[in-house]
Every structure is written in C-alpha cells, then in structure tokens.
C-alpha cells in the first residue's frame, strides 16, 4: 500500500485560537472531495493556553493518523513561535503559512524563558519556505476579530490538492445557520486570506 499520495497538513497554535476547528473544516473539505481522512490532535489541556497541533492526513487510504517529522506539505501556523516549534515537521520543499501573532505565555513574562526575536526569520534561515502575514489585522480591518480563523483558511486555500471553492463551500456550510451576513463576512475573510498569501509570494 503506497502512502505517497497522502497529503499531510499540520495546523498549530495555542489553545483557544481555533486550531482544531480550522483543521476540522479542512478535513470536511478533503472528505467532500472523496478522500479518506484522518485528523488527530494532542490537546489534552489545550483549553488552558497550551500548545495545540492538529495533524490532518488525507488521500486514497490513510493508515496512521500521526504525521512524521519531515513530511508536511503545508504547515498552517496560527502563531509565530508555534510555527517555529513544529517547523521540523515540514518536508524540504514544504510551505509554511504563518500568522504573525505573538502570543507570549506567562512563563516568558515571568522572565523564565525568552520568546524568539524573529520566529519566521529563523524558519527561513533553516531553509523553509515561509509566508507570513497578520491574520488578526486583516480580520480587524474587516470589522471582526473572530474572522481570523477564516482568514487562515483562506491563506491555505490555494495550496491544497483541490479547488479553493471546495473549502469555501465547507466554510459557507458551517456558518449557513448564522445568516447571510455572517456567510458574506466569512467569504470576505477567506478572500482576504488568499490575497495576503498571494501578495507575499508575488513580492518574494
């Protein structure tokens, strides 16, 4: 059984940021495309501001739910230092899409540890392909900080082995019962996320 056709996506961030929800919507999109899908996370105490990673694997037949280091095609980072923490999971030609957010935990504020000065810079220096953008500012400009998640999904939309429309349809479905306005706002956030990454890649 070949595992070469498997897509590995790693979504990472901290508890409460919506990492698991984003991974779930990506999983639904892969499922809608007819793929076999497995999604797993270690999130035991994630609600308490701890580290969260969601492993998403899809393809013809997925066996192990866990992604091996060095095999991730796309890393979707909700926070700079968290993207750096998991960057060794990237394939040599993998792509990291990273929200510039800098969420500093109490252990750093207490002076016990240091927050890296430039997490995405460190990733680039290690040879990774990184696109970083400020998803929270984009969401704020759209008038609603909660749209940050959809901005993140927009960011990854053009780097999946299926059309962005498939992912957008899953987002639409999720917000459908909240009314047309919410659906439209999320569509805008999705488009803004796609633009943010496209612009960065164009200038790179």
């Amino acid at each position: 059984m070949s595992t070469n056709d498997i897509t590995n996506i790693l979504v990472c961030g901290i508890g409460g940021q919506g990492v698991m929800t984003a991974a779930e919507i990506l999983a639904e999109a892969a499922m809608a495309e007819g793929h076999d899908v497995k999604k797993t996370e270690v999130a035991g105490m994630a609600q308490r501001g701890g580290v969260v990673t969601s492993h998403l694997r899809f393809g013809r037949k997925v066996l192990s739910p866990q992604i091996e280091p060095g095999t991730v095609q796309v890393l979707l980072g909700f926070e700079g230092a968290e993207a750096l923490r998991w960057s060794h999971y990237l394939k040599p030609d993998g792509l990291a899409l990273v929200n510039n957010a800098r969420l500093v935990p109490p252990v750093v504020e207490l002076g016990l540890f240091d927050y890296p000065d430039d997490p995405t810079g460190q990733m680039r220096a290690a040879g990774h392909r990184v696109v970083s953008f400020d998803a929270m500012s984009i969401a704020r400009d759209l008038g609603e900080i909660r749209l940050g998640n959809t901005v993140m999904l927009g960011a990854i939309a053009d780097y999946l082995p299926f059309s962005p429309e498939v992912l957008l349809a899953c987002i639409d479905k999720r917000f459908a019962r909240k009314g047309e306005k919410v659906v439209d706002a999320n569509r805008q956030a999705f488009a803004a996320g796609r633009d943010a990454v496209a612009k960065q890649l164009a200038t790179a």
């Binding site: 899908v37 923490r85 290690a126």
Partner: protein, 629 residues
C-alpha cells in the same frame, strides 16, 4: 459548556467524520442501549457527552466511575443493554465493582469503554488497561480507528449477551481523539427481558461466588476459541516474510504504514488472543515482532505459549509508537544499517508553553494567596487547579489521584516529626473532585482529629474536562434543572464544626488571605469554600476589562505574580536602589481582549496603575471556545 440536548441523529448509511469517541457513542445508540453512565475524564469524556445528544436512551454524569459501572450493571440485570465509559484511572476506581461483576456476569449486553492516555496528554500516569481483561477474565476488544470503534462497539454487545460477560472496549487517545470516516447504521430496539430474582447469581456471598468461579475460567477457554474464529482477528499474509508483526489498536496502523508488505496478525479481539492464528503467523515468518503500546502483555503471553518473539527488547515501553519509532528498531533487530536522523528533523529550541489558568480563573486568587504564605505544606488534587503547582504560584506540594489530597494531608499531619511541627497543612480540592472521591477523605480527617485546613475550590463545574455539570451545579447532563446539593451542608455533615466552615470569594484577596491565615492557626479541621464560577461555563459573566496606565506603572511586577495570561511585559529595566541593591523592573500592559475584569491584578498594584477600560472602548469578547481535555 453548552447544554447537551437530544437531537435528531444523522441518518443511517451516511458517511460521517467522527472521532473514535463519537463513533462509539453512535454505535452504543444503534445497539439499543438503554442506560449509559460516566464521570468525565480525558480522553473518554466525549463518549457520554456525544451519547447524551441521542434520543431514546438514559445518559448520566455519575459522581465517579465506580458508580457509573454499578449503574450500568444494575441496568444489565434488568436485561437492558448498558454502557459505561471512563479513562484509564477511572477503571482503577471502578475496579472493585468490575472484579465481582465479572462473576455475576452480564444479562443485558454490558460494555465498558476504557480510554488509556498513552503519551499522557492529560493524566497523572500512563497505564495499560488490557491488564484488566486478564485480571477480571473478560474479553478485550481494541479498535484501530473510528470505523472499527463503531463496528467493535456494536459487536461487543452481542458478545456480551451471548457469553454473559462484561466486555472491555480498550481505546487510547489516538482512537478517542482521531476523526475518521464512519458509515453509520440503524438503531435496533432492545426491550429488557426483565429482572429475574436469582440470588445464586446476583447475591455475591462466598457460597454463591464460589459456585460461579469455575464458569469464569471456562469462559476464558470458550472465548479463546471464539477469538480464533473471530473476523476481528485478521491474518494478513504479506509478501515480504522476513519479519511478521502482531499488533492491535493504533499500533496496527503504524505497522502497516512502516511495513506495508509484511505479514501482520491484526488483533481486534485481543484478549483472549487467537492461539491458532498466532501459530500460523509464527510459521510463515522468520522473525516475529509484537508491537504493543505500552506494556509487554501480549509478548509475555505469546512467549509463554512457546512461540519465540521480539517486542520490548527493541521497542519502547513508554509513550506512543509511530512508524518513526518502528523503522529503526526493526532495522536494528535485523542487523540492517540504521541511517542517522537528518539534521533538519531536529526540533528547534522554543520556550515551553505549559497550560495556564484562564484569565479571570477564580483559582488564581487562591494560588496567589497561597504563594504569599510561608511555612505551609499544601496537598493538591486532580483538575484544572493542579496547574497551581506551576509558575508563578508553585503552590502545590503533592498530586496523586482523585481525592488523595485529603488522605495525604492527614498522613502528613500524623506522620510529621519535629522538623515539620510548625508547618501548617492545607488540602486543596475542587468541587467535582470532592464529590467524586474527596468526601470520604474529609470524613477521615474529621473522625481522626486531623489538623488540616481544606480549601474547597467551588467553581460550579468539572472544569478541566470542559465544564460538565455536577451534583452541586443544579443541572443534569442535558443542562436541565437537577437537585443542587449544598456543599456547605455536606462539609458540616461530614463533621466539620459550623464555625470552622468559611465561604469566601476568591476574587477578594484581602478577605481570602485573612481567612486562610486565621484558619491555619486554629487547631482541628476547617474548610474554606472559595466560590466563583469557572470562566468557561454559562454562569460566568465577564466584567468590565482593565488596562494599565503606562505612565503610572512602576515596573514592580506584583501583578505578574497573580499569573494571569492577559498580563504582558512591554519592557524590562534595572534600577539600583539607594541600598545598592539591583532591582529588575517589568513594565506591563493588559490584553483587554482577553481580560474579563476579575480585578485580581488590581489588588496588588501599588501605584493604582490598573484601571477600567473606558466604557466606549470595551472590546467585543471572542466567543468562548470549548475543547476537549
């Protein structure tokens, strides 16, 4: 957590993306189960949470796992299909029931789902529940993904009824919390046949139990043959027969991923394991490797049956396995060269990010207070409040198991010698843990003249697992009104004098501090109930958030010691005091998006630099998220 109300379940034959927990719940419902019970515990919590959304069955949050198992057994005695779910340590609690329940056996199908936290994402230990199958002489089923979790759960009820045995469905975190595709089926009706008086079976006095025990051993033998014939145990021949594998649960997936061409005996019905199929596998490969998380159980038994095999001589006994672990281990065993890991694969060094208490968590008030009191020994317990052992409070000295805070505190009190004589002993426990297993310990303290001050942190919920109702929250599993027990009255009834029970607001630091100081000085047991709702439940109403007036902040850092994740350092400095002492300064800001205005940080701020955010600037709060834990 929002109320869990019954909904219309997704139709049969639909393809669903379900976690292992959700898949088990779906199968339990389809199996016509009438009664399902559990106490919340990671990674199993969502099984009952999910089940409670299904119609036509009774689901409950029990006060502890032992009670949940007894409830399931009672239902089974009437002929109803019954189910209970728990985390691995929960089965330790329930084991007293289990070890006799196996003698009475099941009448209506009786399935116990037990979830091992392999890798310890949210538990105090790592243990292998497959042992219970051997100890209690009951069959063990081990699914490897959501679809199997669904199928094996359905199979388990039939197995239970046919052989009148409770069945153990062994899950692990990588089953419970992995979402995969499941094709659902229909619910079948199961009307209970009725309770039949049968003291020889249901009244376990020595004479009755003795008469039934031979059947227990006979059942093992019968099930061994059933296991050999079971389609849940599959011998996959493979094409490269240099190494063959025995694997169950998530380990099977790792083996298939790492060695797609090798022969594998996949054990779904893993106890009793199938002897004939095992011998067949051994005969077809040169080397046999048993791949099991975590203990050396199958390996020991297979070797005892006279079949040569490898296992823990090459594989780790701790934590999760993965293809990355299997590959080099097997290569080494075969004498193949093992390539060194690529340098890029080394994880970058990044600060740790341990879980924290939430902004406005009422526990912060208590732990900040404890961090300010010297010469105390503080025993802790299991829950969100275990985080009090971490920075910046470092306020807990012990954590063992549910309710242990009481007995451990009493033991320290009774055991201490001259060196500890002047220390005061405090025992911390949460409301849900108190009702789970803490009440008996408190009774032991009062009965035996313990000199302990108990801090009962009453946040009106089971916090760590996501906010489940308790007997003291006045709500049932569906969020509907339920009798609300009075913790004060329970404490008083357990023998604590009325005047030694204090109810305080953990947001009121001066009163809290004064109350703790006073109570620890007085001889005899006392209980301080610190009462404030958890910030993650509906009872919590956010207050007006705060900000730091930059020009007033002197950088003293007192507020940081409260431990709130909404407080951030903007810049640091050093000053030399007139005494010549160098002092480090940390100037702060408050993330007003995260602050919910509890005011804990305001109280230690000497220069009054922390003020309310002007009303016009109050941010719209991010909707509270729920997650699993």
């Amino acid at each position: 957590m929002a109320a869990v109300m019954p909904q219309t379940p997704p139709a049969a034959a639909t393809r669903l993306l379900l976690s292992g927990n959700e898949a088990v719940a779906r199968a339990v419902w389809e199996s016509g189960v009438r009664v399902a019970a559990a106490y919340p515990g990671t990674p199993a919590t969502e099984i009952i949470e999910s089940l409670a959304r299904y119609p036509d069955l009774y689901a409950e949050w029990s006060v502890n796992e032992k009670v949940s198992m007894e409830v399931a057994l009672g239902a089974s005695m009437t002929g109803a299909r019954a189910f209970c779910a728990m985390k691995h340590v929960g089965l330790n609690v329930a084991s007293d029931c289990l070890m006799t329940m196996t003698i009475t056996g099941a009448y209506g199908g009786l399935v116990i789902a037990v979830a091992d936290d392999v890798g310890m994402s949210s538990s105090q230990n790592e243990q292998d529940s497959r042992f219970w199958g051997r100890f209690a002489h009951i069959p063990v089923l081990e699914p490897a993904d959501s679809q199997e979790a669904y199928e094996m759960t359905k199979f388990a009820f039939g197995l239970s009824e046919q052989y009148e045995t409770p069945v153990l469905l062994r899950l692990t975190t990588r089953i419970c919390h992995v979402k995969g595709l499941v094709v659902a089926g229909e619910r079948e009706a199961h009307e209970p046949a009725g309770f039949v008086k049968n003291p020889q079976r249901w009244v376990m006095v020595p004479a009755h139990a003795k008469a039934r025990i031979p059947a227990l051993f006979q059942r093992d033998e019968t099930l061994r043959a059933v296991s050999d014939a079971s389609p849940l145990n599959v011998l996959e021949a493979g094409s490269d027969r240099s190494v063959g594998f025995v694997a169950s649960g998530p380990a099977y997936m790792h083996v298939k991923e790492a060695f797609p061409d090798a022969p594998v005996l996949k054990l779904g019905f893993s106890y009793p394991w199938p002897p004939e199929k095992m011998r067949e596998l051994a005969a077809m490969c040169d080397t046999l490797v048993v791949v099991e998380e975590t203990e050396k159980i199958l390996e020991t038994e297979i070797r005892a049956a006279g079949i040569a095999c490898h296992g823990k001589d090459v594989l780790p006994s701790i934590g999760e396995l993965s293809p990355q672990v299997l590959h080099p281990a097997v290569d080494r065993l075969l004498g193949k060269p093992v390539p060194p890991p690529a340098p890029a694969a080394a994880p970058p060094k990044v600060f740790p990010r341990p879980p924290t208490l939430c902004a406005s968590c009422p526990h912060m008030g208590m732990y900040y207070t404890l961090s300010q009191i010297k010469n105390i020994i503080v025993t802790g317990d299991i829950g969100c409040y275990t985080l009090g052992a971490g920075h910046p409070w470092n306020a807990l000295d012990t954590t063992i198991c549910m309710g242990a805070t009481m007995g451990v505190a009493l033991g320290i009190d009774k055991g201490r010698g001259a060196v500890d004589k002047n220390k005061r002993i405090l025992a911390v426990i949460g409301d849900s843990t108190f009702m789970h297993m803490g009440m008996q310990g408190l009774l032991d303290i009062t009965y035996n003249h313990g000199n302990i001050t108990v801090l009962l942190l009453d946040n009106n919920t089971t916090g760590m697992t996501g906010g489940q109702a308790t007997p003291a929250s006045g709500k049932d599993i569906h969020g509907k009104e339920a009798p609300k027990v009075d913790l004060f009255k329970i404490v008083e009834a357990l023998g604590v004098p009325n005047e030694r029970i204090k109810v305080v607001d953990p947001y009121e630091l001066p009163i809290l501090f004064k109350t703790v100081r006073e109570e620890i000085k007085i001889e005899g047991p006392s209980v301080i109930i610190a009462r404030r709702p958890c910030v993650l439940i509906d009872d919590f109403k956010p207050f007006r958030p705060y900000l730091v007036e930059e020009d007033k902040c002197t950088g003293c850092g007192n507020c940081i010691e409260v431990g709130c994740p909404a407080i951030h350092v903007t810049h640091r400095d050093k000053v030399v005091k007139p005494s010549g002492k160098e002092v480090e300064l940390a100037f702060v800001s408050i993330d007003s998006q995260a602050c919910t205005g509890c005011g804990l940080c305001v109280q230690p701020c000497a220069p009054d630099a922390i003020q309310h955010v002007p009303r016009r600037d109050i941010p719209i709060h991010i909707v509270k998220t729920t997650s699993t834990s």
